[in-house]
């Protein structure tokens, strides 16, 4: 930003006097801030939410400004998520980053070379975009244009509306490597009904005195959702619930919650889930009535699970048998309901969806579906979520069915494409075959918001795909060479505190979000960018003429089409408090008995058999194994011992650290100071064998190449596994990962490589 140099920032006061006065710089507690004391302008408070990480709902924030400058971040106070973490607090720095992208830019040299950028006007940017896209649409069809979002997730609904209004079904998000595989696993169990599958897949936190067992499986909320940890720990201290934590690392979630920790070999989770099922079935500790009445394929499932004895599973998972036995004893003796909490860790295997099916099958097996303390579904869910808006607003319901045959992903991943619920507002192109789409001429151009080529294995193939497109424009906060060296045009996006879209929703409570400041430079909110492009493409009416009222118009339309009965004016009047949409009836449980789990309102589920499918008739229809089979990882010391001779370490990537969310926040000084370099974590034994100490420069190699990182010797990882954090420009671990995909979901296998680490 041009206006925050040392010279131009008015220095309001110097530190004065003794400690007490100096230290009273505190607007939080209504005491005078000496730095502000001489300013007569009033303190201004704005209410918003945090977007530094990407879970939903968001954490609430109260911003304290004076003279239009942001001084402090506090808890919002009237919100469900109130404990802000380091990343959230550091947002105060990011918004003032002098390196931000402030103007639309077009490149002046060929793609593939370090970008040379020339500032252009928004008018020129929008007319160029319209000309390129409409020309492709005319010559080749609208479906040749892909529309993709990365992080933040917030503009998805606006970009969907743009894509489907334009006539392309090929809208995709970074969720085609993230949450949607766990949702897909639940669609195979309960049927392709987004509203049900997404809620079950989100998992549930244990309810004190109701939940008997909680399994935290491949997730570490201490670092991925710190706001939730004290609540979880309090629930543990108060309740009778036992906690099983499954994670190849020793995380703070382990030491905060675990009654037993199973530190398994990466990629063997499916075997453990089948072992749990087998133990429950053998002990008769499952819900026979539910299984009898509401499930399909139990005999075949139970028969398959028999292979996974505690002894054999301990061997597969490479953990002490007594650890698994202890977990099994907890499951069998504690009884139901149980909850599972997971994240996007294990779909990052070639057999990820099936492993997830094995885990999620424990919920119906124990009768933990939609009962208090189990995985309960919200009563009367609203036709609205924070990311995709409403199915009417985002046009998925109205326009997508007619465009379905123009999806470019079905020939690669038909289960993924066919399980989409357009009526429920879904539209998710599987983005992982992007190089193939471009190679084959299926995709010729792209509009991208916040996309990063480093997220894909063999990044260079995705960079080439961008480069080979006839035209690609992307909106971002920064110029990021790893991606932007391969694109034609950049648009400056407003950051979180500079925009008002989207609305926030917690269960049934809606909140408005106040912009705290004007966008820096000529940055525009992403909802407005979508509307402005829409208008330029000729959809004046669909996007309300674009312009400065675009965000408000989008929110009005989302509210109007959500059926929640709350108007924009009512929300404005209530703000910063939210408005709770009242229930029409009493909350019900076991709603599969009363039609909630099917769109036609009949009892049962939307699967081919109308029941919960332990054995998937959907998968059988694709000639795939219908059982929740366990398979060894494609690359592992067991499946490829000849590769493991030279590359003996399991390459575990994609996990979270407390100071960064994926590739974000490297430019935020407070956070960067906490982890300045790409870190490769090795166990003390693995390090000793290689003569490596903490701080050494190391080379991490696979059959596909090598990258350089700094070693961190730590006992949080297993001796046979290294933990390499992703998203580093100078050490992009995805360059050494293979493009192996789960045939069901199309997900890449970020967690099953083999590698070697040597001291440089």
């Amino acid at each position: 930003m041009p206006n925050i140099s040392r010279r131009t920032f008015l220095k309001l006061a110097t530190a004065t006097g003794a400690g007490a006065a100096v230290l009273g710089s505190n607007v939080l507690f209504q005491s005078a801030d000496p730095a502000l004391a001489e300013s007569t302008s009033p303190e201004v408070v704005r209410y918003t939410h945090c977007v530094q990480c990407n879970h939903g709902p968001k954490c609430g924030m109260k911003l304290i400004l004076k003279d239009d400058k942001l001084y402090r971040i506090e808890k919002r106070g009237n919100y469900n998520n109130n404990l802000i973490c380091a990343k959230g607090v550091a947002a105060i720095q990011e918004i003032y980053d002098p390196e931000r992208l402030l103007y639309p830019m077009k490149r002046t040299n060929p793609k593939g070379e370090p970008g040379q950028w020339e500032r252009i006007s928004w008018d020129e940017a929008l007319s160029t975009i319209a000309e390129k896209l409409n020309s492709i649409k005319e010559k080749h069809g609208a479906e040749k244009v892909a529309f993709i979002t990365g992080d933040p997730k917030e503009p998805r609904s606006a970009l969907m509306r743009l894509a489907y209004a334009f006539g392309s079904p090929n809208f995709g998000t970074e969720s085609s490597t993230c949450f949607l595989a766990t949702e897909l696993a639940n669609k195979l169990i309960y049927g392709p009904y987004h509203k049900v599958a997404s809620k079950v897949a989100t998992g549930a936190n244990p309810v004190p005195d109701k939940t008997k067992v909680a399994i935290f499986w491949g997730t570490n909320p201490a670092w991925s959702a710190p706001f939730s940890m004290s609540g979880l720990r309090n629930a543990k201290e108060k309740g009778q619930c036992k906690y099983i934590v499954v994670d190849p690392r020793v995380t703070p979630t382990v030491h905060s919650l675990a009654d037993v920790h199973i530190q398994l070999r990466p990629g063997t989770d499916g075997a453990l889930a089948l072992c749990f099922a087998n133990s429950l079935i053998e002990a008769g500790a499952y819900d026979k009535e539910f299984v009898e009445k509401w499930t399909h394929g139990f005999e075949e499932y139970a028969d398959y699970c028999k292979e996974f004895t505690v002894e054999k599973t301990a061997e597969i998972c490479d953990v002490p048998q007594e650890h698994i036995q202890k977990a099994v004893d907890i499951l069998v003796t504690q009884g139901a309901p149980l909850v599972c909490k997971t994240a996007a860790a294990w779909p990052h295997h070639v057999n990820g969806v099936n492993s997830f099916r094995a885990m999620w099958s424990l919920i119906p097996l124990t009768g933990s579906l939609d009962v208090p303390g189990g995985v309960s579904l919200p009563p009367e869910p609203m036709d609205f979520d924070q990311w995709s808006g409403t199915p009417t607003f985002n046009y998925a319901r109205e326009k997508l069915p007619a465009l379905d045959d123009k999806r470019v992903d079905r020939k690669y991943f038909p289960v993924w494409a066919d399980m989409e619920d357009y009526h429920g507002g879904q539209g998710n192109l599987q983005l992982n075959p992007l190089p193939e789409y471009v190679r084959d001429g299926d995709i010729l151009a792209c509009v991208a918001l916040g996309t990063n080529a480093m997220m894909w294995p063999q990044t260079q193939e995705y960079q080439k795909a961008f480069q080979d497109m006839e035209f690609i424009v992307t909106a971002d906060f920064y110029i990021r060479p790893q991606t932007h060296d391969y694109v034609d045009m950049l648009l400056p996006a407003a950051m979180s505190f500079e925009r008002s879209c989207p609305l926030t929703v917690y269960g049934r409570k809606l909140f408005l979000r106040e912009p705290a400041m004007e966008p820096a430079g000529e940055a525009r909110p992403d909802y407005r960018i979508c509307c402005d492009i829409g208008v330029a493409l000729g959809f004046e009416e669909e996007f309300w003429g674009g312009g400065e009222k675009a965000e408000e118009n989008c929110m009005r339309e989302i509210l109007k089409t959500s059926g929640c009965g709350v108007s924009y004016e009512e929300l404005q009047a209530a703000s910063p408090e939210g408005i709770t949409v009242p229930l029409k009836g009493e909350p019900q449980i076991k709603k599969y008995e009363t039609g909630y789990f099917r769109r036609d309102g009949q009892p049962g589920f939307e699967t081919p058999t109308g029941k919960v499918e332990f054995i998937s008739e959907i998968l059988r229809g694709y000639d795939l194994d219908p059982r929740p089979v366990y398979l060894e990882p494609t690359w592992s010391p067991v499946s490829t011992p000849e590769v493991a001779k030279n590359y003996p370490l399991i390459l575990n990537t994609g996990s979270r650290v407390p100071m960064y969310t994926h590739s974000k926040q490297r430019n935020v000084p407070w956070l960067r100071a906490l982890m300045p370099d790409p870190i490769c974590r090795l166990s003390p034994k693995a390090a000793r064998e290689r003569g490596i100490e903490t701080g050494d420069d190391v080379e991490l190699s696979t059959e596909l190449g090598s990258i350089r990182a700094k070693a961190e010797v730590t006992n949080i990882v297993r001796d046979d596994t290294i933990d390499m954090f992703h998203g580093w420009e100078q050490a992009n671990v995805n360059l050494v990962h293979a493009r192996d995909f789960d045939p069901i979901s199309g997900f890449p296998s970020y967690k099953e490589g083999l590698c070697q680490v040597t001291k440089v």
Partner: protein
């Protein structure tokens, strides 16, 4: 008269660094000038390996060596036991830094800000200070008005409890009693440690800590 203290619940700490960043936000401290920290410590081996965190900060010693070491009276203790700095008196000699057993003081020598050449709004005050010593203040300005230190306000693990240890009805007094928190002798800090945390990682009194610091050198 109140006596201020803080409990660090090391059993609840999840190593998220929010206390560090919240402090930097509040005081706008320069790069490298941190009033507190998070230090992972480890013991045990697979499959029983453990990692926990130490939370170094000014321990607000009762008979503080830094106060004695200061030749100009810039370092002083408030009547509530909080060790504070008078920046106007500080001559930047660094004697207090040497004297501090806990390495909890920083002599600010580099005129740098987070983004080179730029002063962010929250850095306006701290960027005027140079060649003086800075340290944790228990957020004295806030707590005098009944507030809470910023590291405790923003701790998502809720593992820091602050208050008047003279008042048996205060939150901190009750917390100390309920959780059997251990006082770091000679300081205003208490802790609750994980049951299996080796003694070597637990905070010690100023003399023991100072001797260990000398031995390490």
């Amino acid at each position: 008269m109140a006596t201020y203290g803080m409990v660090l619940n090391l059993d609840h700490c999840m190593g998220c660094y929010t206390c560090v960043v919240a402090c930097k936000m509040f005081y706008g401290t320069r790069p490298g000038v941190d009033y507190n920290g998070v230090v992972p410590v480890e013991w045990g081996e697979f499959p029983d390996a453990k990692q926990r965190y130490q939370l170094p900060m000014c321990m607000h010693c009762i008979d503080a060596p830094c106060v004695k070491a200061c030749p100009v009276g810039a370092t002083y203790a408030s009547e509530e036991g909080v060790v504070l700095m008078d920046y106007d008196k500080c001559i930047g000699c660094g004697d207090c830094v040497t004297a501090c057993p806990y390495d909890a003081r920083t002599l600010v020598t580099d005129d740098v800000t987070s983004f080179p050449g730029v002063v962010l709004p929250n850095e306006e005050e701290a960027s005027d200070r140079l060649n003086i010593v800075e340290k944790c203040t228990f957020c004295y300005g806030a707590v005098k008005d009944g507030g809470t230190p910023m590291c405790a306000v923003h701790c998502p693990g809720q593992c820091r409890v602050f208050g008047d240890v003279d008042d048996p009805e205060s939150e901190i007094s009750k917390y100390i009693a309920e959780r059997n928190a251990v006082r770091v002798e000679g300081t205003h800090i208490w802790y609750v440690a994980p049951a299996d945390m080796p003694d070597e990682f637990l905070p010690k009194d100023p003399v023991t800590t100072y001797l260990a610091k000398l031995n390490a050198k």
